[in-house]
């Protein structure tokens, strides 16, 4: 009995040492991800899971508009569900495909938004578009830089994204990485959006 316990303890000791050594080796030998990449990935994580958002945004000298954007999936030509958003801007509703470059939604060929139209969707609070734009920061060769700011008195971090329409800055809550504000500074147009969860949701 005692010999068996001694053997079992030795076996557990060997296995435990192996596991601990492996953990220590990983911690010592592998680099930690850049803080900008971690912030971008966590912001993407917050936006994942079909997050609906509301926004109040201004583009250029246009009047401020209120929008609500609900991510969804709609069947395309061959019946496969593809990502899309249900967008309501000042009471007017439309469906926008945000998946592959060209989609056919309910028999209508729709072009994937790009350039200013894509940025406009981000400002309108469309989570998949915002997620995709932030995702461009965590590509194979890029390491995003992260800045600090305050939004309505809350500590926030900034992520800067260069798009065809100009420089997009996403302000995320320092703790939860929830996007709070998005600004656009382009050569021809500027814009600003305040994002919030739909009423009734924390």
């Amino acid at each position: 009995m005692r010999r068996g316990i001694a053997a079992a303890l030795t076996a557990c000791g060997v296995a435990g040492c192996g596991g601990a050594a492996a953990w220590a080796l990983q911690a010592a030998a592998l680099p930690r991800p850049a803080s900008g990449s971690v912030v971008a990935a966590r912001a993407m994580s917050w936006l994942a899971g079909d997050r609906a958002l509301e926004s109040t945004f201004v583009i250029g000298t246009e009047r401020p508009v209120r929008s609500r954007c609900v991510p969804t999936r709609l069947p395309v030509g061959d019946g496969r569900p593809e990502p899309a958003v249900l967008l309501e801007v000042d009471g007017r509703r439309r469906v926008v495909a945000v998946g592959p470059p060209y989609l056919t939604i309910r028999g209508t060929r729709a072009e994937k938004p790009h350039g200013l139209e894509r940025v406009r969707l981000a400002l309108a609070g469309c989570a998949p578009v915002l997620q995709s734009l932030i995702g461009s920061l965590v590509g194979l060769q890029t390491t995003p830089t992260v800045g600090r700011a305050r939004v309505d008195g809350r500590a926030a971090q900034t992520l800067r994204i260069w798009t065809k329409a100009g420089r997009l800055t996403v302000y995320v809550d320092e703790q939860s990485k929830r996007p709070l504000t998005v600004t656009l500074a382009g050569p021809r147009v500027v814009g600003r959006a305040r994002l919030r969860l739909p009423r009734g949701r924390g």
């Binding site: 060997v14 596991g19 680099p31 850049a34």
Partner: protein, 383 residues
């Protein structure tokens, strides 16, 4: 003068023995060179005139960039930047850490990541072949072991041994672990088995043969030795557990590995094999190459069954079954051709098939042709 000669003689004897040892195994170096020369030559031809397929720009800029493609990109990314889980996208926590650690360490000597991966994988394969032959000699006898080692060197899916992939390292680690266990060197066995498991999850299945070896002679061992033996069999699983713990530490998400795997269409479940067959038509629509992996699975299962004829112990066959059949429970047949490279029993089974001279020659000729063809298709087919 005489005293000096006497002092030198043990060293000379040892050197002579080493030379003799290498000379007896020179055929391993010959087959290793032949197989690798073929893969490198085809990679050169593809670089010069071949298709670009899905190769990224930086892979086209290196003369052997072909061999640093596919998962090689991800291992390079981990080595360069560490792990990062990107939600709803394919990301690098799906890749085990030891190979990127080695890449990073060797890169520190001044070589590019592509060259480092190429050098590391090919040189370690030579070590793996020596270890595999030594292991085979003890498990299935010298003749079968010799044929099996030649088959490993020129196996059609063996182009992966030359890529920036950890397969050659895992085969070496598994073979050395079992060899050390057979010789009663349990500390070394634990270290090698752990290294294999830290490079690829399949590496942990060497625990089954280690357990069988531990059980085999346990009555003649002291409690301490018995503990060491069973500890060596347990160690790979403890090492496997260290990876999610590390991901939990660095990414605050211990499930990052399974989340990343799910973006490659892998999600383990008890009825995953039903999903795998269910999704087969869609997988075929996406890429007809899935038939290659399906064929490989059938071939490996047949060879594992035939391995019985070569007196391959049950533990080795079960470990092989786990390596090639368990991935099907993730709902996918992808990459099974590559996973089979880590199954010694498959090669021992193939060596049984090649026991007659004509069969042996046919296997070698077919393997060489298929190895060249498979290498040429790298730009189009995920290994």
């Amino acid at each position: 003068m005489i005293e000096r000669a006497e002092r030198a003689s043990p060293a000379l004897t040892s050197l002579a023995a080493s030379v003799e040892w290498v000379r007896e195994r020179a055929w391993i170096v010959v087959w290793w060179s032949a197989g690798r020369a073929l893969v490198l030559a085809v990679a050169l031809v593809v670089d010069a005139v071949g298709p670009r397929g899905y190769l990224a720009h930086d892979e086209r800029s290196h003369v052997f960039g072909l061999l640093a493609s596919w998962d090689g990109r991800w291992y390079r990314l981990v080595a360069e930047h560490g792990y990062l889980l990107v939600p709803e996208r394919q990301s690098d926590p799906a890749f085990f850490p030891l190979y990127p650690m080695l890449l990073r360490a060797a890169h520190g000597l001044g070589l590019s990541y592509a060259s480092t991966g190429l050098l590391l994988s090919n040189v370690v394969l030579l070590v793996a072949l020596f270890a595999f032959y030594a292991l085979g000699t003890e498990v299935v006898g010298a003749m079968v072991a010799r044929r099996a080692t030649v088959y490993v060197a020129i196996f059609p899916a063996g182009y992966v041994f030359s890529m920036s992939y950890p397969e050659s390292f895992v085969l070496a680690a598994m073979s050395l672990a079992a060899l050390a266990a057979l010789r009663g060197r349990w500390g070394l066995a634990a270290a090698c088995a752990s290294a294999g498991a830290l490079a690829r999850p399949e590496g942990a299945f060497v625990a089954l043969p280690l357990l069988a070896i531990a059980l085999d002679g346990q009555r003649h061992r002291s409690p301490h030795e018995r503990g060491l033996a069973f500890g060596a069999a347990l160690a790979p699983f403890a090492v496997l557990a260290s990876f999610p713990l590390y991901l939990g530490f660095v990414l605050h998400d211990p499930f990052a590995w399974s989340k990343a795997e799910s973006r490659w269409g892998r999600h383990f479940s008890p009825i995953g094999f039903v999903d795998a067959f269910d999704r087969l038509p869609a997988a075929f629509d996406h890429s007809a190459w899935v038939l290659r992996d399906l064929g490989a699975l059938a071939g490996y299962l047949l060879l594992l069954w035939l391995a019985r004829r070569s007196s391959v112990p049950l533990a080795w066959r079960l470990a092989g079954l786990a390596v090639v059949a368990l991935p099907v429970f993730s709902g996918s047949f992808d990459s099974i051709a590559r996973f089979g490279l880590l199954v010694p029993a498959v090669f021992w089974g193939l060596a049984w098939v090649g026991r007659h001279r004509h069969a042996d020659r046919a296997i070698r000729i077919a393997s060489i042709g298929l190895l060249a063809a498979a290498t040429a298709t790298i730009p189009y087919a995920f290994p």
